[in-house]
Assembly symmetry: C2
Homo-oligomer: 471 residues x 2
Amino acid sequence: MAFTLDVTSMTEPAVPSGVRDDDWAALAERFRAAHQAVSVIAATGLYGYRELERQSAERARVTAFAAEVAGRYDDIVVLGIGGSSLGAIALRSALLPAAWNARTTTERSGRPRLHVLDNVDPRTITGVLSVVALPRTLFVVISKSGGTVETLAQYLVVRDRLAREGLDAARHLAFVTDPVTGALRAIAVRDGIPAFAVPPNVGGRFSVLSPVGTLPAALCGIDIEALCTGAMVMRDATMGDDLMRNAAGLFATLQWRAHAQAGQGQHVMMPYSDALRDLAPWFVQLWAESLGKVDADGMHVGPTPIASVGATDQHSQVQLFMEGPADKTVTFLRVEASADDVEIPRLEAGEKALAFLGGHTLGELLDVECRATARALARAGRPSMTMTVGASDAWHVGGLMMWLMQATTLAGALYRVNPLDQPGVELGKRLANRELGHPDFAASVLTSDLASDLASGAEDRPVPTRRIRVG
Amino acid sequence: MAFTLDVTSMTEPAVPSGVRDDDWAALAERFRAAHQAVSVIAATGLYGYRELERQSAERARVTAFAAEVAGRYDDIVVLGIGGSSLGAIALRSALLPAAWNARTTTERSGRPRLHVLDNVDPRTITGVLSVVALPRTLFVVISKSGGTVETLAQYLVVRDRLAREGLDAARHLAFVTDPVTGALRAIAVRDGIPAFAVPPNVGGRFSVLSPVGTLPAALCGIDIEALCTGAMVMRDATMGDDLMRNAAGLFATLQWRAHAQAGQGQHVMMPYSDALRDLAPWFVQLWAESLGKVDADGMHVGPTPIASVGATDQHSQVQLFMEGPADKTVTFLRVEASADDVEIPRLEAGEKALAFLGGHTLGELLDVECRATARALARAGRPSMTMTVGASDAWHVGGLMMWLMQATTLAGALYRVNPLDQPGVELGKRLANRELGHPDFAASVLTSDLASDLASGAEDRPVPTRRIRVG
């Protein structure tokens, strides 16, 4: 049970643009300052994602609820978007067997399928409602604020269906939301719907280890204590201010340094593992939404995270990573040994293109390709690092997620932004709410120039339209 | 049945960095030159993806085969990677009902599920083999060259399983490969396995309208004639050299201009539609692998395509797009009207956060969010364009794919690269093949400095390793 982060190919001489021996002292100092800034904020209690011991009571409620309803449902349908869905999707891919949702009830031994409705497309909710039997379905509605318009719209559709089939809402709904405020909390209290709390000091994109991620996971039989134990081990190993002993600090500092000093601001996350595949989009939200904003000097900053998967994307994106502009770093995620590896049979001895494969395993092939891609990138002067985990089990997945959350917090200090807010999405939300007739719109407090313009109608001035029509 | 491309927000005054009125003449001229370069190459027959009439005989064979085997299989399993899988995945999402693979045989009316094994992870192939009944399964092995190591490894595993269950390979395998050469073709001839041809002048990432995409699609009941008809309509509308009348030329030219003249080299593809969601990763391969390479001046060039989906990624990436560095363009894909829209019920009148949603539809909500996001981006000075299609049916999906393939060809000329090759992936392939013991490795022709270094063992020189271990 271990994690190893190898950053050799982020350094010189492996890669010419990499860190030189005499750069390390300054980087260690820069990291110490960032660590200090994070510590000051942490002391105010804002980094709730780390406080897993304090959250053990709510976690026990999740476990007890999952035990209580075991066998009652064939399908769990999560209604949530962004930070309320990406964690559950990543946990499903990592910790439920592949093709889980295509298995029959018997093949799943009575454990439910997990569907995540992370968009308001009518086609998708209709599709999922057509394959579940409502009397055997639990809908988990997740919105930290209780006011996410996409999720509330889905909730209304589902609640109406339940009512029409004469089903008890309290038996077919569960909420994950703020402990006190918001529409979902009010409805839960009114109607006796089971509700689990997202701690107020845990932001959406940092919430996977709260009931936001653990409730859907536990309902499908995932070991959430192992998940959180792995996370706590990683947390404890990434609290210090010594750069060379802090894997999260090293990741954050090397990414920041690649961006600031070598123009490498596109950060590719490339698991060589189908199990870890959906950790990449989860990381994309974490890194993009936390760091892409206005910094302390008023500059627009932030790296662009890119989700990729190996070996698949060797046939899609690696050409660009190898020969395109030298503006990227690649982080490989490797799993040491696969429990259920598959040997490639010795067939087709007459076919040169096939014969040499016999006797190898698929896991070996995947791993050889990972190392070959890393070496080819280094030979082309393109930096990469490799995080190797012992297995893709709950303990290691929890650890990986904590590693990246810790790194994001530290990167916020390096980039000199607040990693916990997302002011850039407000304007779009207001424009949509106004068009939909939200009663608060007119009264909403206008805090920015954009919002003032908006209120005055300035954004509505007509501009000449340019369109092409085909067909 | 129509497509409308609105580029207003790629222009000034909608967006300050956009095209100014007096820039258009030079852009039109630059496009005419690129168009001329493409025409010269097209005359040599290299752009086979456009020659859909010539490919009608093979398409008829695909249709006849699908009709012949109708009802025989419950599961179609594609073994393919990159250009041999992304098209099938995009067609499945777009043209099979949502949650298709979670439906029972009866709910699917006898039509098969579609699984795409686009990676060599042993867990995934084991998972899929555990949910299909081999006697009711057809494996479609897709490799243009017939030598893709990942796909051949999967083929060997599957072939062995079929043999062990005493099943006839010719009834449970179908190949899509080169018409004459390669290991798969040789095996097909030897064993009487149905085999369909990828025309030699159709590259992998341009092959979705060949049997690479049409065979899996037709087997699941998708109308491949409608797909190709939509594509031909779009092709005919995007052959001319007048920038303002060529939607593919306009897309390519505005993206290239944004990159070259405004530093906007990250090109986000953001469908507001779950059906069109997987067009984005398909486009990512097309744009990245075609354009990310060394140009005529020896410079490393190419935009970074980024896959996104609305409204979902408003809660993930839009913060970065709004407030991060001003280095991105966003292309929205919108579907005009959803056939099976869902009304949001008027419930919870007492809850302000919910009451205003009642009476709207989910489709309306999705569309309001798309337009609000585009307007918010424009107000923040961030460029975007919007492609609107009448419906997400086969005809329009074929048209969208042709639009982007035509645009890629034209962008190759604008970026002054060969959009049809992928030299940057060779080194990684060689390193992997050497480690796996491929007999050709020693004898392979060495054409680059990298390859020479490799042959001499220079890439193997040790570098100091830097690692952190946790746990």
